[in-house]
């Protein structure tokens, strides 16, 4: 996790991602100009802020929270009430661009209150308290219907509010640009926070709270401030969510939301600043696109998460980063072909596995398992033996080649090379 310790000076070369990523973000809606895609991109922005705020806890401070949606959701509800008040006042009051700040203030406030007793202890105790708090807030969302709007939720209209810049926010592309702006601001702030004494000591407390005490720091206070700031950014994301969706219901404070941010952050890689950005984007994308293609998308989601936890605990960014370091150190020399072979056979195995899962889903879940359905572009019948055999064969051949042939081949190659180096 060395990359998470805010090392290195401010370097002009390191600034390029900060220019390239926003540039791509601004160009994207002109390339994909369907309303659906632009909404998806806006959701990604919200998810990115939320995941970055989550990683202030998990990656930077070592706090595993199961209830981070509380601050996202309460921020969203407060912002929604404000938006409704603005709507009721005939579109006068706080400009819509600044609405996320109301969410941030709410996140901060609730962070101050709930954080005061959550962060006494790290580890399991903290995780359990956040789980309990998440459940508490979610269940009260169904009790206090005036504030939470009950099961129907609350509506507001972003285009019936004043705009600071005189922009009409009815078109979703304009909203998207607002999201990009806030995402950039939040990302820069969260990035800079890592460079401060608090950010450093958060890492220190994560690594060794006892040593932190013996250099004068109270680990509880370090965790607390970090928690409050994280809640503040979660609330900001919630406020932005109000603008993109114009509706909030009890789901935004629920466990699913808390789980999704944990999943996204972890899949991306908690040891990297960019990890939550990648993870949140991917998860949002999968949620929207995968669910349109297959009923089994939650299962794929779970499988992805499990395999990351088991085989690549540093996340997707971690995989890329280690491979990159390996490549730079010359570890790919002479075996790039083998690496490609492993990758391709693994992908073939995954393809086979997907076929098996789709067949099973159709067979067990469909009203009429015998009805023909389209599997990978081919019309098949799940009650026949052939598609099953083919799918299993692809799976076994793919993974078999990868695990029993490709991996040993690579290992032999590497050890042969290092022996050669010694001789």
């Amino acid at each position: 996790m060395a990359t998470n310790t805010a090392a290195g000076g401010i370097n002009a070369l390191k600034l390029w991602p900060w220019l390239i990523v926003p540039f791509i973000a601004i160009v994207l809606p002109f390339v994909f100009d369907s309303g659906h895609t632009i909404n998806l991109l806006s959701h990604m922005g919200v998810a990115i802020i939320f995941a970055l705020s989550y990683n202030m806890l998990l990656g930077n401070t070592g706090l595993l929270s199961f209830g981070h949606a509380v601050y996202f959701g309460l921020g969203a509800f407060v912002a929604m009430h404000l938006l409704r008040a603005i709507n009721d006042a005939g579109g006068t009051g706080l400009p819509i661009e600044l609405l996320p700040l109301a969410g941030a203030a709410a996140g901060l406030g609730f962070g101050v209150i709930f954080g005061s007793f959550s962060v006494r202890r790290a580890g399991v105790v903290f995780a359990m308290i956040t789980l309990g708090l998440g459940e508490l807030v979610h269940s009260s969302s169904l009790m206090f219907t005036d504030f939470f709007g009950g099961e129907a939720g609350l509506f507001g209209y972003r285009d019936e509010a004043p705009s600071l810049l005189g922009v009409d926010y009815a078109p979703s592309r304009n909203v998207y640009f607002l999201v990009v702006a806030w995402t950039l601001i939040a990302a820069i702030l969260i990035y800079l926070l890592r460079k401060t004494p608090l950010g450093w000591m958060a890492n220190a407390v994560r690594d060794n709270p006892e040593r932190a005490q013996f250099v004068g720091y109270n680990p509880t206070i370090v965790r607390y401030i970090q928690f409050v700031l994280s809640a503040c950014f979660a609330g900001l994301a919630g406020g932005l969510f109000v603008i993109t969706n114009e509706i909030v219901n009890d789901e935004v404070v629920g466990q699913l939301q808390s789980g999704a941010v944990l999943l996204g952050t972890f899949i991306g890689g908690i040891g990297y600043f960019i990890g939550p950005v990648v993870g949140a984007s991917l998860v949002t994308f999968l949620e929207s696109s995968l669910s349109a293609h297959t009923e089994a998308w939650v299962l794929y989601f779970g499988l992805l998460f499990i395999s990351i936890v088991m085989f690549a605990p540093m996340g997707l960014v971690g995989i890329v980063h280690t491979q990159y370091l390996n490549w730079k150190a010359g570890g790919w020399k002479g075996n790039t072909g083998i690496r490609l072979y492993i990758l391709v056979s693994g992908l073939v195995g995954i393809f086979g596995l997907i076929c098996v899962i789709e067949l099973s889903y159709h067979y067990f879940r469909s009203w009429d398992p015998g009805a023909p359905f389209i599997l990978m572009g081919i019309s098949t019948n799940a009650t026949h033996l052939l598609p099953w055999l083919v799918s299993f064969a692809i799976t076994i051949i793919g993974f078999g080649l990868m695990l029993l042939h490709g991996n040993p081949l690579l290992k032999r190659h590497i050890s042969a090379n290092s022996d050669g180096g010694k001789a």
Binding site: A6, T196, W200, N203, D207, A212, V215, G216
Partner: protein
């Protein structure tokens, strides 16, 4: 001129359930002295350190640091009053580099507290002191090495460095040379002497060569009580000590 006591333990007791580990411990450590605690295994040396440094609560009695009561204060408050310690098992920020460890250790004593509006790397006094410490620790080559990749002896020196960096006047070192070869141990002793010049030092140590080289005064802890305190010469010649602890090791 009277010499101040840096550390004063009076009638300190500690039980774990029924087991009394520290049984009425009295100890005075003078300012600027190097005080070594010796004693057989299980005598309660580490427990004593844990009591002084705020890691454990005292069952009875009082501990004073420059006249302030420090018993039962949390460790970070004890540290802010001017005491720091090292541990038997190396205790560093494992995922950070050498220079990052030193910077973290300096932040509080340089007055940066929990600030989240300024950059750590922009604090020139922290940077300056961190590099200066690294030079004194002979770790300039390893500045950006992650500490988990350092040799054991380097980790121990860095730990002493971090302990000193926290700005403490009184420094407790728990077996600084444990598990080291003769030469490594000698290096560490020299390092301790170099690093801790003006500070008051309390050291738990097993290696008698180290003890007699380092100590201004020695206290002998046996079964939770100090049975003797004195100069190395006095301790060498103390019959009770020879019987209880040194046995045949010193003739």
């Amino acid at each position: 001129m009277t010499i101040r006591n840096a550390l004063e333990l009076k009638g300190v007791k500690k039980n774990f359930g029924r087991a009394e580990i520290i049984r009425g411990l009295n100890l005075e450590v003078r300012e600027h002295e190097r005080h070594v605690i010796i004693g057989p295994n299980g005598a309660g040396k580490s427990t004593m350190f844990n009591l002084i440094s705020g890691r454990l609560k005292v069952s009875e009695g009082s501990i004073k640091l420059f006249g302030n009561n420090i018993h039962n204060l949390p460790a970070h408050k004890v540290n802010r009053l001017g005491l720091s310690r090292s541990f038997q098992v190396t205790n560093l920020f494992q995922n950070m580099t050498v220079i990052e460890n030193l910077r973290c250790s300096l932040l509080w004593s340089e007055g940066h507290k929990y600030a989240f509006w300024k950059s750590v790397l922009g604090q020139d006094s922290v940077t300056e002191r961190a590099y200066e410490l690294a030079t004194r620790l002979n770790l300039t080559e390893q500045l950006s090495t992650q500490v988990s990749l350092l040799t054991y002896a380097q980790q121990r020196s860095l730990e002493i460095g971090c302990t000193v960096a926290s700005g403490a006047k009184v420094i407790l070192l728990d077996e600084p040379t444990a598990g080291m070869s003769r030469t490594e141990a000698n290096d560490v002793v020299q390092l301790i002497q170099r690093m801790t010049g003006e500070n008051t030092l309390v050291v738990v140590e097993h290696d008698l060569n180290v003890v007699f080289e380092l100590a201004d005064r020695i206290s002998v802890l046996v079964y939770g009580e100090i049975i003797a305190t004195g100069t190395p010469e006095e301790i060498r010649n103390n019959e009770a000590v020879q019987e209880a602890y040194l046995g045949t090791e010193v003739h």
